[in-house]
């Protein structure tokens, strides 16, 4: 890895992919590629972030993202604290800013923030001295998920430019969709979103995507299929007439995959609703790279933590990863 790539990273926070340039995204992906090897070692630890303190501030329940961030931090030798909404003073009426100020008083280096409300990482970044990494905020962005998706696609297909990617599911409420749309389009992919009209936000085309309501069309030409989780609550608010209707029109099963390209990649950010957005044939079949996504999540999050709080400007990465 050349030092020239390192100097591209100057950001204190990672709040989303909307503001990132293609060069910055590539910097993260290249850093992740060199850090992925750490997790394959018998002793899965390097001293890159020794002495740094990272707070996983999860206002919304999460298992896989929190675990992935925690492992990423630990493999870089950082100290981690996990604060979950149930145990935090938020349930006692404290404001978010007060919670953050109190944690800052303990001298921490980064907040990894997950919140059900869009924009909370931005809010914290405006008030905190520490770095803020968005681990998913409402339906806004989930940048590390999109980065690990990009990383996984790149691993299988070498490059992203020119690929046709279809994102199928609840686009309206999906932070994963938004971050992926920004990331994929910046790296030159052609993105199609596919959803029932009730689950598509207005003017989504202006984000640079094609729109279809026909799942067959979304599958037929795609190099990559990204499925999103359909939440059962959506049925209660009349956003979908029923899970059954959704499965019939948008669910990915063997029949729908018959016309797919042979080298199609099937992705899902998890947790999968088997039998709703995709069946076991699709989830566990040869096209599925769902578990690769999970593995790559750690490498991508190591890269993000390292770039945001670890790398003194101009330090070549090799120096840190011993």
């Amino acid at each position: 890895m050349s030092a020239a790539i390192e100097t591209l990273w100057t950001r204190k926070h990672l709040l989303g992919l909307e503001d990132l340039s293609a060069d910055e995204i590539n910097t993260i992906l290249k850093t992740a590629a060199s850090l992925k090897e750490v997790s394959l070692r018998p002793i899965k630890k390097v001293p890159a972030l020794r002495g740094k303190t990272i707070v996983n501030l999860f206002f919304e329940p999460s298992t896989r993202t929190r675990t992935s961030f925690e492992l990423a931090a630990k493999r870089l030798s950082a100290d981690t604290i996990n604060i979950a909404s149930s145990s935090s003073s938020l349930t006692k009426g404290e404001t978010i800013i007060d919670t953050v100020n109190n944690l800052e008083a303990l001298k921490v280096d980064a907040f990894v923030v997950r919140h059900a409300s869009a924009g909370v990482p931005n809010l914290i970044a405006q008030h905190a001295r520490a770095s803020v990494i968005n681990a998913g905020d409402g339906a806004h962005e989930h940048p590390t998920q999109a980065l690990l998706d990009l990383f996984t696609i790149q691993e299988h297909r070498k490059k992203i430019a020119g690929l046709k990617v279809s994102i199928i599911g609840d686009i309206s409420h999906s932070r994963v969709a938004r971050s992926n749309i920004w990331g994929l389009t910046k790296l030159g992919a052609e993105v199609t979103v596919c959803a029932p009209p009730t689950l598509l936000p207005v003017e989504i085309e202006r984000m640079g995507v094609q729109v279809t309501h026909d799942a067959n069309e979304a599958v037929e030409n795609a190099d990559v299929l990204m499925l999103l989780r359909i939440q059962h609550e959506r049925q209660e608010t009349q956003l979908i007439p029923g899970i059954r209707e959704y499965r019939l029109r948008y669910g990915i099963d063997a029949q729908r995959l018959e016309k797919a390209k042979p080298d199609l990649l099937i992705m899902h950010p998890g947790p999968v609703n088997r039998g709703v957005e995709l069946d076991s044939f699709a989830a566990d079949g040869k096209s599925s790279v769902i578990l690769d996504q999970v593995t790559n999540g750690v490498a991508v999050r190591m890269a993000v933590l390292y770039l945001v709080i670890g790398a003194p400007e101009g330090t070549p990465l090799e120096g840190a990863v011993v």
Binding site: T95, S117, A118, V120, N122, H140, R178, P201, E203, M207
Partner: protein, 440 residues
């Protein structure tokens, strides 16, 4: 009692179609315009406090049809004392207090309590707006007679619109005999849902729930039909959509009794302000598109929109400094209203300064039928000195209002209020700044 002579200012009083250099003589709390050449009139008075207003505008005190004073109930956001003092700082000498208090202004006793507090504060004159329904719950009508006798000048369940069409019909019918408006915050609550901001590209990118324009227009359309049915007087509060303005325009052409107001922020800003999750720009109705904004300006220009009203909605810093979806709706608007409107309407050449002053003085005063907004001989001496040459930078920390929630923080605004007189009493004059601090 001593008299005051405001000498040599440019007096702009749209109620009399006056625009020229005059002296303004204030004697016993009432005004009289004097030609600068008429020395005799002022020389007869023994104790005369002369204020030189050369280069300044002398205009009637502004009238606001839509102010939230928060008292009783949320004195941490604003009090009647602080809100009326903020009004004075913004040039408003008469303001209508909305009934969204806790408890709601739904009976005479609370109205009298508010008026009593306003008298004690002795700042801007307060004209209460009573609630249409008990507790603003949209179930039972209040006692209109009692509210009007106590001093209310209109009725509204502002913030909690009347969605029940039958109840709205009854309110419009019942208010007819009082010749007072039913002021509707036009919002279809079911369609509004958990909306946070205008539904458009910005809400899509931010991933927050949108509030479509139809949330407003469905109710305006229904209410216009009910006004036509009943002959009642519908006043549409803080109109925000292009289609809404069009509905009002058509209704007026048909002779239906409908009036409406627009806020300075809807004339100046769009939903683009919310990029980056700026909760200071979170307001209801939401800031909409530039197309809507242009249509509002057009509505002001062609007279569809009757007047400007602030919808001053102060909140605490800790409430506003929150995630966009949980932060409360509202903008602290009294102290920026005139300059912001000047910047949006007069600077680009849409309307003259005379017309803007009319929209903030005689137009709302005549609409709500109060004696204010004029410098006619012997009217109450409520007036404002404006420096048309002085620009200033908005700094919420210096707001007199307890609400520091403004989306125009740091913006440089043209024209400055440099003096305000209420009942002939000097409330502040820029050089002296006597009444500027809250505890003065």
């Amino acid at each position: 009692m001593s008299a005051i002579l405001i000498r040599n200012g440019r007096v702009i009083d749209p109620s009399q179609k006056i625009d020229g250099t005059f002296d303004l003589l204030i004697h016993d709390g009432v005004v009289e315009l004097v030609k600068p050449s008429d020395k005799k009139r002022s020389e007869k008075i023994n104790e005369l406090h002369v204020i030189d207003a050369t280069g300044k505008w002398v205009v009637p005190g502004f009238v606001d049809l839509h102010t939230h004073l928060r008292e009783p109930g949320r004195e941490d956001k604003e009090t009647i004392a602080s809100g009326t003092r903020a009004a004075i700082a913004g040039g408003f000498t008469s303001i209508c207090a909305m009934p969204n208090t806790e408890p709601a202004m739904d009976h005479g006793g609370i109205v009298e309590q508010v008026l009593q507090q306003a008298r004690r504060a002795n700042n801007a004159q307060v004209y209460p707006i009573g609630a249409i329904t008990l507790g603003r719950k949209g179930k039972e009508l209040t006692n209109f007679q009692e509210l009007f006798e106590a001093g209310c000048v209109g009725l509204s369940d502002d913030g909690d619109p009347l969605t029940n069409s039958l109840l709205m019909r009854r309110a419009l019918e019942a208010s007819r005999v009082f010749n007072r408006p039913i002021i509707q915050h036009a919002e279809d609550k079911a369609l509004f849902g958990k909306g946070v901001m205008h539904e458009g590209y910005v809400s899509t990118v931010l991933g927050v729930e949108g509030i479509p324009s139809e949330t407003e227009t469905i109710i305006i359309a229904r209410d216009i039909d009910l006004a036509a049915l009943t002959g009642g007087w519908l006043h549409v509060a803080h109109i925000s959509t292009a289609k809404g303005v069009d509905l009002v325009r058509q209704a007026k052409k048909l002779g239906i009794r409908v009036t409406c107001e627009v806020t300075p922020h809807h004339l100046a800003l769009t939903h683009e302000e919310l990029k980056g999750f700026n909760s200071m720009a979170k307001v209801n109705p939401p800031l909409r598109t530039s197309k809507d904004r242009d249509a509002l300006v057009q509505g002001v220009m062609d007279g569809t929109i009757d007047c400007i009203a602030t919808d001053h909605a102060p909140h605490t810093d800790w409430e506003k400094c929150a995630p966009l979806d949980t932060a409360p709706f509202g903008i602290s608007g009294l102290e920026t209203a005139f300059a912001l409107c000047y910047q949006s309407l007069v600077e680009p050449g849409h309307i003259s300064e005379n017309r803007l002053i009319e929209l903030m003085t005689s137009a709302p005063a005549e609409l709500i039928r109060i004696e204010a907004g004029t410098l006619k001989k012997d009217s109450i001496a409520d007036f404002v000195l404006v420096d048309p040459e002085q620009s200033w930078k908005v700094n919420a920390k210096t707001f007199v209002s307890r609400g520091k929630n403004t989306p125009v923080e740091g913006r440089v605004l043209p024209v400055k209020i440099v003096g305000v007189f209420k009942n002939g009493e000097m409330k502040f004059l820029e050089e002296e700044k006597t009444q500027r601090s809250e505890h003065a």
